[in-house]
């Protein structure tokens, strides 16, 4: 269903290596995915799986080591200088730590106006009006709070200001990197609802990166699961959560704690801890913790295969095959 549309963002074989040549650390090891206009792609995984690095590589905050990233058909990995700066008007990012994302010594309205000032797109009264409008949109009263310094706001308010700032240049794609994980439950709900509203209003396309499966499911149209720098599975949330194809997805879901006293007490708990990305296992990277792993998994790296329309999995033994 999604194949006929042109993707807004097309990522192919993206790799990001850190560290020296002698001891490379492959944070992202060949990841491919598309994001279509107007959709929200959720990206989940545990810490160290490379999900945040992927987001930062898309923004060119960290440099991709190889691979291609196309935004609206234009390759952006090779862009430099002015072209790279221009990219900033079309892609924006919201960070995890709301307090550290805002300069504590600047006022809320100046922070929101920063992108406008950088680009000198609007000035004078028009600029003030736009800033006030953005602040009101995210639920910060510009008259009362506009002149307050960033350090005077709580985490939830800081995240609202961050959102307002990221929308100032009306970007196409918004990358949200764990944007609610530092917030309390009641504040998290406010921010997630706000994000849904703004997405509709501004016609945004979102890449929503988070470790919380429930949060990701709530906002996403499609969900991608990463493990140790590789993509495990991409699919629509309902099928992916109800009938996961990759054993890792299943374990991840099994470990997720549902706020429901009747939820079945977790089946199998995944044993061990993820191996070091400095020295990843051969073949399938999940095989060291996977109960279904065979010699084939060690020898051969599984490629992403489409199991159903829009549902792809990188596993030699997808779970639906063993289910039937």
């Amino acid at each position: 269903m999604s194949d006929t549309r042109q993707p807004l963002l097309r990522v192919r074989d993206l790799t990001v290596n850190f560290g020296s040549h002698r001891h490379p650390l492959s944070a992202v090891a060949g990841v491919s995915f598309d994001i279509y206009e107007g959709e929200t792609l959720g990206l989940v995984g545990e810490s160290g799986c490379g999900k945040s690095t992927t987001g930062k590589a898309l923004m060119r905050i960290v440099e991709p080591s190889s691979g291609s990233i196309e935004l609206e058909g234009v390759e952006i990995t090779t862009q430099k200088g002015k072209a790279l700066r221009n990219l900033r008007t079309r892609m924006q990012m919201i960070f995890q730590d709301p307090i550290s994302s805002l300069n504590p010594r600047r006022r809320a309205k100046d922070i929101v106006a920063e992108p406008l000032d950088c680009w000198k797109s609007v000035e004078g009264d028009e600029r003030t009006a736009l800033v006030n409008d953005l602040l009101s949109k995210v639920g910060i009263d510009p008259i009362v709070y506009g002149n307050r310094y960033a350090r005077q706001f709580s985490g939830g308010q800081c995240q609202r200001i961050s959102i307002a700032r990221s929308l100032a240049m009306r970007p196409k794609l918004l990358i949200c990197d764990e944007m609610v994980s530092a917030l309390d439950v009641s504040i998290q709900a406010q921010i997630l609802n706000l994000l849904e509203d703004l997405k509709a209003e501004y016609g945004l396309t979102l890449l929503f990166i988070a470790h919380d499966l429930a949060v990701v499911k709530n906002v996403s149209d499609r969900v991608a699961v990463m493990y140790l720098g590789k993509m495990c599975e991409i699919g629509p949330p309902d099928t992916l959560y109800d009938a996961p194809e990759h054993p890792y997805t299943q374990f991840l879901l099994g470990a997720a704690l549902e706020a429901d006293p009747d939820s079945p007490l977790h089946g199998e708990v995944l044993v061990g801890e993820p191996p070091s990305p400095m020295n990843p296992p051969s073949g399938c990277r999940f095989r060291t913790r996977c109960p279904f792993a065979t010699d084939k998994c060690a020898a051969e790296e599984p490629l992403l295969v489409e199991m159903a329309p829009g549902h792809t999995v990188a596993c030699h033994y997808p779970l639906s095959l063993s289910r039937t």
């Binding site: 905050i61 924006q92 992108p115 950088c118 700032r165 530092a182």
Partner: protein, 294 residues
């Protein structure tokens, strides 16, 4: 236990919610210190106009006199008025410290910020060079240069001390900038499309400046002490020009006969340094942004 930390967090949590920002107070002692420094600086600037005795006039009729109404702090072994020599002497201390730190900060601070922001080869090269300079004991290097670069003058002292302070300033500013450059808001500014200069000026400078200012004050204190040490070794301005260090140096030989000659300049030096350090410390904690934790 981390109890006190925890309480701070709670208080912060509560106080960040209070709508108007509570003004932190600097305290009375801070303002007394500022007043004392201002008095010293004003004295140095207006020494010529003030009703002071000529610091160079030698009155052999009263040498090594104790404090009296006519000579507030007494006279030295050549019958010169100690009070007026201290006031005039502060000029040298203040000129040397401000002048050399102008050089130190003028060169060290921008380089430090730039290195910390750009990182990469520029940073590693510059930092290596700076650390090589730091490996030399600055005092010995200064003494060596000043001993050979004759005739001595105030300007030469300023230049030598200034250059010696560059690596120190560089190191402090670089570390401070590095702490801030990794914050998300700096990355966010870059992502918004801000140019490097804009990031340096808008995001980094306002956050580095308070640290710079407090280091500047401590630097002034250090340079004044250094000038004292140089004078003590006879490497500062040539006599008869008074400087605090010179005066203490001269008092050495006649400490038995006239202790006042050592006591008053030392006291002036001590108080001045104490005030500087106290102000620097207070300012640093005052400008520290307490970031609310969630």
């Amino acid at each position: 236990m981390s109890n006190s930390y925890f309480v701070n967090e709670l208080v912060e949590e509560a106080t960040t919610q209070t709508t108007p920002e509570r003004k932190k107070r600097l305290g009375v002692l801070f303002w007394i210190c500022v007043g004392w420094l201002a008095l010293n600086v004003l004295g140095a600037i207006f020494a010529n106009v003030l009703p002071l005795q000529d610091p160079l006039y030698q009155n052999y009729s009263i040498i090594n006199a104790g404090p009296s109404l006519h000579h507030l702090f007494g006279t030295d072994d050549l019958g010169r008025d100690i009070f007026s020599r201290i006031v005039f002497g502060s000029r040298v201390s203040i000129e040397v410290s401000l002048g050399s730190l102008l050089i130190g900060f003028g060169i060290g601070a921008p380089l430090g910020m730039l290195a910390a922001y750009r990182r990469g080869k520029f940073d590693s090269l510059l930092t290596t060079v700076m650390y090589m300079f730091l490996a030399f004991p600055a005092i010995i290097a200064t003494i060596a240069v000043l001993s050979f670069w004759t005739p001595r003058s105030l300007l030469k002292i300023i230049i030598v001390v200034g250059i010696a302070s560059i690596p120190l300033v560089y190191r402090v500013i670089r570390t401070a900038t590095m702490n801030i450059a990794t914050k998300d808001y700096v990355i966010a500014a870059k992502v918004q499309g801000a140019t490097d200069w804009r990031i340096l000026g808008r995001e980094l400078l306002p956050n580095v400046a308070p640290i710079g200012v407090s280091f500047l004050l401590i630097g002034i204190a250090t340079v004044i002490t250094l000038e004292g040490s140089l004078a003590f070794l006879g490497l500062s301005v040539n006599p008869p020009t008074p400087s605090w260090g010179n005066m203490i140096n001269e008092s050495r030989t006649i400490l038995q006969q006239n202790p006042w000659l050592a006591i008053f300049p030392s006291l002036a030096l001590c108080l001045f340094l104490l005030c500087l350090n106290f102000i620097g410390d207070r300012l640093r904690s005052h400008f520290e942004v307490t970031e609310g934790k969630l």
